[in-house]
Amino acid sequence: MDVGQMQRQWIDYTKSLFLEGFLDGQFLQLQQLQDENNPDFVVEVVSLFFEDSERLLKDLTFALDQNGVDFKKVDAHVHQLKGSSSSIGAQRVKNACIAFRNFCEEQNTDACLRCLQQVKQEYCIVKNKLETMFRLEQQIVAAGGSIPTELSFIG
């Protein structure tokens, strides 16, 4: 597979992430911050997002398994996850967290459990897609090309 074809594939893939709503404008902001001084900024932030999300989802699962659910603690964890997803532009994860916090406020255990499953699902999807995008980038760089910097579409 040649460099041009890989670059076109990367562009099409990234465009679909925006069109399907997985990513929003904040992700473009991260790409803006990446420059000669910060060549791996996006990967670092996204990796940090993965670590935080894994930990938070584990804590949420544990908190909701207790007999007497501590909704204040659950809300704190969901708030953290919402902040992280918002910061990197993971739009669908953020929206799931917003719904999640509303049910925490109502102290509705069943609804919270359903939201937890939804958040987990959205997180897994965006994680897979971001990992695929990063693999494409690595292949382009390995083949001697450069990551395209012009995303001419507007969702």
Partner: protein, 739 residues
């Protein structure tokens, strides 16, 4: 036949009547016979006469008529048959000839009348030709006179000679008794007798220019007959005994003198005329003829042309003399300029060789010294030495590039810089020198002055340092005040800078800096010399040892920055105030992030906007903290992060100008703000505290304001949004985004 020979002695009445008939017939016959003789005589006398045959016929007719009357003499008595036959024959012939003659005359009379008419016509034509021949001769003579006069008048370009020659030649050609020329006086209100043909002393004799006779002459381009008794013609008593000669006057057009700027010519602002008066001899029956008047008019025109030529020549001579003088002066100035250039080049060479190298050594060694272990006080001194050395090196470079300043090729290096920091730096550089002389130094930077500006920071600082440095240098005691504020349009209405009235706009403003000292002051007469480069005047007490270079460079820098600089002083010992105004740009505040997707901007765009700004970010969310830190570093900030309130409280210091904190985690953020306020309660310049939140509730804003935060920003924050936020915060020190 028998004939009676008896005659009675007494005649009867019938015989008397018959005698009368005898006599009449005789005379008729005599007349009839004489007419042909007359005709023959006159026809012979005439050279050409047509119709000779008709003449013969007419003669025969006349003769026959006479014959019939003659024969009647014998018909009064009883006559013979022979007489009767002769009588009948004669009458028949007469009838035939007379009828023929009558018929012929019908054809000949019109021709005879026509001949008469042609003769009359030819006679008239001959008379006319005689007159024309006379006229041609007269005109030829007039033309000859005109050519002679014109040649004499225009054979010179000297006004006096032109006018004198005109009068002499006219007098000779026209046999004049007197000829005079009246010129307008300087006021233009009188005519002055300037030249005469015979009178010796005409100067001083004047007449008002508005006399009716003068108006009459000036309003016509022909020669005008005037009375011998009018003032311009009564030049002296009559030379003759009985009557003066006829007089004419004609106007002579003069130049539009203002065009030629002839100073010794009578000055008038509009077209004017001289008056020429010509007098025929006294006691003569001569009158002015038409051709003589025409001659006078032509001569007047020629005089006007000759005078204009003379004026042009005089002006050319004067211009040539003036150019010669100017060339001498220019040559002298050129030699002086060459000397000055050589002197300056020598000076610059010395500057280059003898000052630049040591200065570079001072800078290099100061930089090395800065890296060694020093106390805070020593480090501050070394830093001051380094900054002053760098500034001095810049000054030396500018002196060496003075030619670029002079011919306008020096370009300012515009960039965004912190205007408030610039004044702080000036103060830090000047304070040590001022404290040594025990001068109090105050600085006031108006609150409405923008925090950041676009311009040549180095040149602006150099200008301010030059002005403040002079104030310190020439003050033995007292105080020096520095004031900086935005110049308002009304403050430009200053008599010192009448042409300087620029108007601020959305992307630029005018900075006004005023430095006032209580030093030695300046003599107001010497103020203009302050800005002259390399000029030293021993009487200038303000510059006893200096070269007068600083203010000259300051003026050039200020002019390059589209501004103005001036000095005021009430005199020696009364202190001095230096004020300058420069134009600076206002950094653009981009619109806040609103689009879901934006194109990526160049990586280093605006990266130097907030170089060195110390910012502390408190956020317990690692991802958010990392993104915010990356964003601020991208803008050039010096970022410290804290993941908890305790850590933030431990790390925050006066060095931080802004603290960003996340307030989404319960009450931790608000408590932290209160603690920070308590920590810096005794200091004026505590850090700005700005809340970062994703919460759009109104109560969040109210809580932030209640605990004394300076701002609230909604997350997520884009690059452009953060840039605008920082600019506004540092400018107004408060920013609450609408929620």
């Amino acid at each position: 036949m028998e004939s009676c020979n008896c005659i009675d002695p007494q005649v009867p009445a019938d015989d008397l009547l018959m005698k009368y008939q005898y006599i009449s017939d005789f005379f008729i016959a005599l007349a009839y016979f004489s007419i042909p003789l007359e005709l023959i005589y006159f026809v012979k006398k005439s050279a050409v006469f047509p119709y000779r045959w008709v003449l013969v016929q007419f003669g025969a007719f006349i003769v026959l008529c006479g014959a019939t009357h003659l024969i009647n003499l014998w018909t009064f008595r009883i006559h013979s048959r022979t007489v009767a036959v002769v009588m009948t024959t004669a009458k028949v012939l007469t009838a035939v000839v007379s009828c023929a003659t009558a018929l012929m005359l019908v054809h000949i009379i019109p021709d005879l009348l026509s001949v008469k008419t042609r003769e009359l016509f030819l006679k008239n034509k001959a008379a006319e030709l005689d007159r024309e021949m006379g006229l041609i001769r007269t005109q030829e003579e007039t033309g000859r006179h005109v050519r002679m006069l014109t040649h004499e008048i225009r054979s010179t370009l000297d006004r006096h000679t032109i006018l004198k020659t005109t009068l002499v030649e006219l007098g000779r050609t026209l046999a004049l008794e007197e000829c005079a020329l009246w010129m307008p006086t300087r006021t233009g209100l009188e005519l002055q007798l300037s030249y005469t043909l015979r009178q010796q002393n005409p100067v001083g004799y004047t007449v008002p220019i508005h006399l009716p006779v003068i108006n009459q002459v000036f309003s016509s381009n022909r020669a005008v007959k005037i009375s011998p008794n009018c003032p311009v013609a009564r030049l002296r008593p009559y030379a003759g005994k009985y009557m003066p000669g006829a007089v004419v006057a004609v106007r002579v057009p003069l130049l539009h003198l203002s065009n030629f700027q002839i100073y010794d010519w009578p000055e008038v602002s509009t077209r004017s005329y001289a008056l020429m008066v010509l007098m025929l001899p006294s006691d003569s029956a001569r009158q002015w003829h038409v051709h003589e008047l025409e001659l006078v008019e032509v001569v007047a025109d020629q005089v006007a042309v000759a005078l204009s030529h003379a004026a042009i020549l005089e002006e050319s001579m004067r211009a040539r003399d003036q150019l010669i003088e100017q060339n001498v002066a220019l040559d002298l100035a050129r030699r002086e300029a060459e000397t000055a250039i050589r002197a300056r080049n020598d000076f610059l060479a010395v500057m280059n060789h003898e000052m630049r190298t040591p200065m570079h050594a001072v800078i290099a060694l100061s930089s090395l010294l800065q890296e060694t272990d020093l106390t805070a006080e020593q480090r501050l001194m070394v830093e001051t030495i380094l900054k002053s050395s760098n500034l001095l090196a810049t000054l030396i470079n500018d002196v060496l590039d003075l030619s670029r300043l002079e011919d306008g090729s020096l370009q300012l290096e515009a960039a965004t810089f912190n205007l408030h920091s610039l004044f702080r730096e000036v103060l830090n550089l000047i304070k040590p020198v001022a404290s040594v002389k025990k001068l109090s130094l105050t600085s006031h930077v108006a609150s409405d002055l923008p925090m950041y500006a676009i311009g040549d920071e180095k040149r602006l600082m150099q200008t301010i340092l030059n002005v403040v440095g002079n104030a310190v240098k020439f003050s033995k005691e007292g105080c020096i005040s520095i004031t900086a504020f935005v110049a308002k349009p009304e403050s430009f209405r200053d008599a010192r800078i009448p042409d300087f009235l620029p108007v601020p706009s959305d992307n630029h403003f005018y900075l006004r800096v005023q430095v006032k000292d209580s030093g030695s002051g300046i003599n107001p007469q010497d103020i203009p010399k302050l800005f002259t480069k390399f000029a030293q005047n021993q009487s200038l007490t303000r510059n006893p040892a200096g070269s007068g270079l600083g203010l000259a460079i300051c003026r050039r820098f200020v002019n390059l920055m589209e501004g103005h600089i001036w000095v005021e002083s009430e005199g020696i010992g009364k202190g001095c105030t230096v004020t300058f105004i420069v134009k600076l740009g206002i950094p653009d505040r981009s619109n806040e992030f609103k689009l879901p997707f934006v194109p990526k901007v160049p990586g280093n765009h605006g990266s130097t906007n907030f170089a060195g700004l110390k910012v502390l970010v408190m956020d317990d969310n690692g991802v958010s903290r990392t993104v915010t830190k990356g964003l601020l570093m991208h803008l050039g900030c010096d970022v410290t992060t804290a993941s908890s309130s305790e850590e933030c409280l431990r790390v925050v210091s006066l060095e931080h100008e802004v603290v960003f904190m996340d307030v989404c985690t319960g009450l931790d953020g608000y408590e932290l703000a209160v603690r920070i306020h308590e920590k810096f309660t005794k200091h004026q310049d505590r850090p700005l505290i700005v809340a970062l939140t994703g919460n759009t509730k109104k109560v969040t804003k109210e809580n932030c304001m209640r605990v004394g935060m300076d701002g609230l920003i909604l997350k997520p924050v884009s690059v452009d949004k953060m840039r605008g936020v920082l600019s506004e915060l540092l400018e107004r020190r408060v920013l609450f985004e609408s929620v």
